[in-house]
């Protein structure tokens, strides 16, 4: 047979592409369940890390089943709020928001549809919410944990798809960067809920970062830092109504919160 005729070439390439596509489709469908289970456990361990129940490495070592069990033990309730701050629906406890779902909500926040904003509240009162946005090379996302009924950050965990190793990838790999969020706060009432400052956030005399809504950016990763800041700003602005109502509710019983909010308001004015 003449393997160089046009007809043969066209038929051959068509056939091989169809066969390869079929193989890939079958494999992708049959492995989907396992992959989703892995992704779910990964998402949960990121949320638990943000909420301070352990480190990502520890959760990685104990395995998926143990992560799910620990989550079931610690989680109190989860629900979805709308941009108006009102609760829309309860979430079943086994439901989490993986990056692909966050991506969908990110489009909704940008105006495609009404966003569903998940809120996860653990038994110790810590509230965890996700953020999602564009880094330099691909999406960046993460989970921010708040102290019970306040706008003070308890912890944060960030992940990315393809930021530069050693530079932008530090949002995930550098515990120091993630811990720099601890104790800072989100200014839900302000125009910029959070700042990741290039050149350094304001420091006190001892060189410690002030308790405000600003942290240091990562050296050499300006675009990733900016992307993460933008992700936090956009998502926190969308969550603002929910959190403003929450913080108001609980400020009656926690006096310290009033001071904290007072300082925060002053700082916004100075800006």
């Amino acid at each position: 047979m003449n393997t160089n005729s046009n007809l043969y070439t066209v038929i051959y390439t068509t056939l091989i592409v169809v066969v390869v596509a079929a193989v890939l489709a079958v494999v992708s469908q049959s492995l989907k369940g396992r992959q989703e289970a892995n992704e779910k456990a990964d998402t949960i361990s990121q949320m638990m890390t943000a909420a301070g129940f352990g480190s990502k490495e520890e959760f990685g070592k104990i395995g998926n089943a143990a992560v799910l069990a620990r989550y079931a033990e610690e989680i109190d309730r989860a629900f979805v709020v709308g941009p108006d701050g009102q609760k829309v629906a309860d979430l079943p406890l086994e439901k989490v928001y993986s990056p692909s779902e966050l991506k969908k909500q990110n489009y909704n926040i940008k105006g495609a549809d009404t966003p569903e904003l998940p809120v996860f509240i653990f038994k110790n009162g810590v509230t965890v919410v996700p953020v999602y946005g564009a880094g330099l090379w691909g999406p960046v996302w993460g989970y921010i944990a708040f102290e019970p009924g306040s706008n003070v950050i308890k912890g944060a965990y960030f992940d990315h798809e393809s930021e530069t190793a050693g530079l932008g990838a530090k949002i995930k790999d550098d515990p120091e960067f993630q811990h720099s969020f601890d104790g800072e706060m989100i200014d839900f009432a302000g125009v910029n809920p959070f700042d990741i400052v290039k050149g350094g956030a304001p420091k006190d005399e001892a060189g410690k970062s002030l308790v405000d809504n600003k942290i240091d950016a990562i050296t050499g990763a300006t675009m990733t830092s900016r992307g993460l800041e933008n992700a936090i700003d956009v998502w926190m602005a969308t969550y603002a109504k929910y959190f403003l109502a929450e913080v108001e509710d609980s400020s009656d019983d926690v006096n310290a919160n009033d001071d904290v909010n007072g300082d925060d308001a002053k700082e916004v004015k100075e800006d």
Binding site: V20, V23, Q35, N38, A41, A165
Partner: protein, 204 residues
């Protein structure tokens, strides 16, 4: 086993090593050698991809139209790479490593060793030798990866396969070793060692 087949297997491991002699696949060997675990998974992935795509293309070699043979090769290699990626994502033990290697698993398709061996060997040889050639070249690549990763993980993190080796005696990790330039320097040292053993590689 006859001598020719033996040569097919042994040559790529040392004398004709794809990285140190053919100088193929350098980029990924810089990127994935920070930890031994990552290097091992990458090495196994490349072995599977080169072996199986060489086998498939060798089986198809007499039917492939000459004008589109590179495209057909690409389709088969791409399929193998996606399969490997999907399988790695499906297992608990490899999910985290797959995430860590991220784009580099997908980039196996651009690894010159794969297409190079298919074009140079699989299209002109029977399936069994082609499969062995693919596996052996993947193994030669993997061997160098593991050697580089051994030194980088040991000196850069003080660990091997994640287990503490130097840390307990107060070793301070050398961050320079973690950065890509050190992989290139280590690779240079391996080439140096190989060329001093194997004199016929030295340029006159």
């Amino acid at each position: 086993m006859d001598a020719k087949l033996k040569e097919t297997i042994l040559n790529p491991i040392f004398k004709g090593n794809p990285i140190t002699v053919l100088v193929l696949g350098i980029c990924s060997s810089l990127a994935v050698t920070v930890t031994l675990k990552g290097a091992l998974v990458m090495a196994l992935s490349v072995i599977v991809v080169t072996g199986v795509s060489s086998l498939i293309l060798s089986l198809l070699r007499n039917t492939i139209p000459g004008r589109v043979r590179i495209i057909v090769q690409l389709v088969v290699v791409a399929m193998m790479v996606i399969l490997v990626d999907q399988v790695l994502k499906s297992f608990e033990a490899t999910y985290a490593i797959d995430k860590q290697l991220s784009v580099y698993i997908g980039l196996i398709i651009t690894n010159c060793i794969v297409m190079g061996r298919i074009e140079a060997f699989a299209l002109g040889n029977k399936p069994w030798p082609s499969f062995l050639d693919g596996v052996a070249n993947g193994a030669g690549y993997g061997l160098i990866l593991l050697i580089v990763a051994f030194f980088r993980e040991l000196l850069g993190s003080g660990t091997l396969f994640g287990y503490d080796v130097l840390g307990w005696m107060g070793y301070v990790p050398n961050n320079l070793v973690i950065l890509p330039p050190m992989a290139l320097i280590l690779l240079g040292c391996i080439v140096w060692v190989q060329r001093s053993i194997q004199k016929d590689l030295q340029e006159k």
